[in-house]
């Protein structure tokens, strides 16, 4: 007996696992491995009324907001990490333009704990972070309570967050969704564990045997994964350690282009709506530009003996 493969195209995965109105956690590695290919596909499929969940979304959340896909953002920081403001986010919050946006502010740690609570199957986790802050006052998912152990000290209960779907990158994955990752992990593992469905977007799809030579790097467990998409360069312009570096200029260009809604819409038409898929996008970016992003330091890990 052989196992059913979970390999699907990215448009199939988005069509099936990102329904209108669902909550999506993504950008979980932080400034690396932001799955822009998935965001563009969500925009093309006009998935609306989404709740976006993530820590530092860099410009991905901004793109989805500007495209009118987003009803609510639960995040710690929405902007352009290199340049500052995310203009679509600002327009939506400050002027309901193009539409109003509900924002629930978290901190990096409390967002991490909210997903960790779901990963550990409990309704909340305690912390002392956010005590004294306005974030604590305004976020309904952060509640002050007295510790049941010790001196009844004041703690914050961070309510568990259960996203409908996690969209996460993997360096290598097999057809069952087991995902090999390296580089900084951010809140990825808890996001995967907390979510009802999981889409893995892999730089490489490899046989299971390849992953089994190094199980310590296989931190996305296939039994929690619903779809595996093979999309090289899926995170451009953000970096994927060992595959491609950050396209800094892209973030600068986006910043400039998105200063006005009109400018953003021209950008959106050019880079998202007028390209059918990620292959076409990469073609349009051009091999010259991509080539410059390839890593060159040559630093590799040493093999370790994983057998017996």
């Amino acid at each position: 007996m052989t196992l059913d493969s979970k390999l699907v195209t990215l448009d199939e995965a988005i069509a099936k696992f990102v329904p209108v109105g669902c909550s999506v956690v993504t950008g979980t590695y932080m400034e690396q491995k932001i799955p822009f290919a998935a965001a563009h596909e969500i925009i093309r499929q006009q998935k609306r009324d989404l709740t976006l969940i993530g820590p530092i979304s860099d410009i991905l959340f901004d793109q989805l907001i500007g495209a009118g896909c987003v009803e609510r953002v639960m995040a710690t920081w929405v902007g352009n990490v290199m340049m500052g403001s995310a203009y679509n986010f600002r327009r939506a919050v400050e002027k309901d333009d193009p539409m109003p946006l509900d924002v629930v502010d978290y901190t990096n740690f409390t967002m991490s704990l909210a997903l960790h609570a779901a990963a550990l199957g409990v309704p909340f986790l305690p912390t002392r972070s956010t005590l004294g802050s306005s974030i604590l006052e305004e976020n309904p998912h952060l509640l002050v309570f007295e510790s049941p152990v010790g001196d009844s000290e004041k703690l914050v209960a961070v309510e568990a967050l259960h996203p409908d779907v996690a969209i996460v990158h993997a360096c290598k994955a097999d057809a069952q969704g087991n995902g090999m990752v390296w580089g900084n992990l951010g809140i990825t593992l808890d996001a995967v564990a907390a979510s009802s469905s999981v889409i893995v977007i892999a730089e490489e799809v490899v046989p299971a045997e390849t992953l089994r030579r190094d199980p310590n790097r296989v931190l996305i467990p296939g039994f929690r994964v619903n779809a595996v998409c093979h999309v090289p360069w899926s995170c451009h312009p953000s970096p994927v350690q060992g595959y491609y570096n950050r396209d800094d200029a892209w973030f600068r260009e986006y910043h400039k282009a998105s200063k006005t809604l009109q400018g953003y819409r021209a950008w959106l038409k050019k880079w998202v709506l007028d390209v059918p898929d990620w292959v076409a996008y990469l073609d349009k970016v051009g091999p010259e530009r991509l080539k410059k992003l390839k890593p060159s330091s040559g630093i590799h890990s040493d093999p370790v003996y994983t057998g017996f």
């Binding site: 400034e31 400050e94 800094d248």
Partner: protein, 289 residues
């Protein structure tokens, strides 16, 4: 104009001044100091001031931009044993090779000491094992409370800023916090509209009352000087000014009544070692130029 290891004013002071007659010399020194205040950029002064806040062997939430460079300077000079933590799960002992814009840029991930998840660095922060964290913000108030979420503009419009990121966590849980900020009246205010990152709150005893286990801002390094929060009332007082600035000028550029600490004087110029480190880690002057 900069030579590795020696700034122009240093060079002038060392090799030219001794050969000049006293009365003329004192005028000459004023000129050199003024030159220094132009030659030594504000970015350099802030980086050096920030680097000096890091003690050897300390565990530091480094953050991005100027503090990142400050960490590299500290590591290269007086604090070789300092360890840098980044919210995305990076622990570094080596400063990143080359210019980086985010904490997940290739050079900050490559040759890290450890790479794991956010809880692997937020855990030590929460457990009181992080000595120092660097923060920026749009606004800071009298008691060092920070706002990086939304500020009221003059016409009652609200400007939405990116938000906390990990700033609130660091402000709540690190043993000390150092803030870096542009010095403008609209930024240094009496009371922030929104506390993204708690400072000393409303003064003495406030953090304890909130249940915060430790911490609070120790210094605010601005483009004009250094404000410290070590007075018993926890109000930030001007403790030093960058050469070229005056106490009166700084007070005028502050959006609240600012007291001046005893012994307030000029910040010390970068040492040759500090300048050499800046030249190494910011060769094109991206942050300090």
């Amino acid at each position: 104009m900069r030579r590795p290891g020696l700034t122009l004013p240093d060079w002038l002071k060392r090799y030219v001044a001794p050969n000049i007659a006293r009365p003329f010399g004192s005028l000459y020194f004023e000129w050199v100091d003024e030159l220094a205040s132009r030659e030594i950029t504000v970015g350099t002064r802030m980086v050096v001031a920030a680097a000096r806040e890091i003690h050897d062997g300390e565990v530091v939430f480094v953050g991005m931009r100027l503090p990142l460079l400050a960490f590299a300077v500290a590591k290269s000079t007086h604090a070789p044993g300092a360890v840098g933590l980044y919210e995305n799960g990076v622990i570094r002992e080596l400063p990143a090779e080359g210019l980086i814009y985010t904490m997940a840029d290739g050079p900050n991930v490559s040759e890290a000491t450890s790479l794991s998840d956010m809880l692997s660095v937020m855990g030590p922060l929460a457990a009181g094992r992080v000595d120092l964290g660097f923060l920026g913000a749009a606004q800071v108030d009298k008691f060092g409370n920070l706002n990086s979420t939304h500020v009221k503009a003059g016409d009652d419009r609200v400007v939405r800023l990116p938000g906390s990121g990990g700033a609130c966590d660091i402000a709540c849980l690190a043993h000390r916090v150092v803030v870096l900020m542009k010095h403008e009246p609209t930024r240094l205010v009496e009371r922030v509209d929104y506390i993204t990152s708690p400072g000393w709150g409303a003064g003495t005893g406030w953090r304890d009352a909130q249940g915060l286990p430790r911490g609070g801002p120790s210094a605010l390094i601005t483009t004009r000087g250094v404000i410290r929060f070590d007075a018993p009332d926890r109000e930030g007082r001007l403790a030093a000014y960058h050469p070229g600035e005056t106490v009166e000028g700084i007070v005028a550029q502050t959006g609240r009544r600012m007291q001046v600490a005893d012994g307030c004087g000029p910040t010390a110029d970068p040492s040759a070692e500090e300048q050499a480190a800046i030249d190494t880690y910011d060769p094109e002057g991206f942050w300090t130029g």
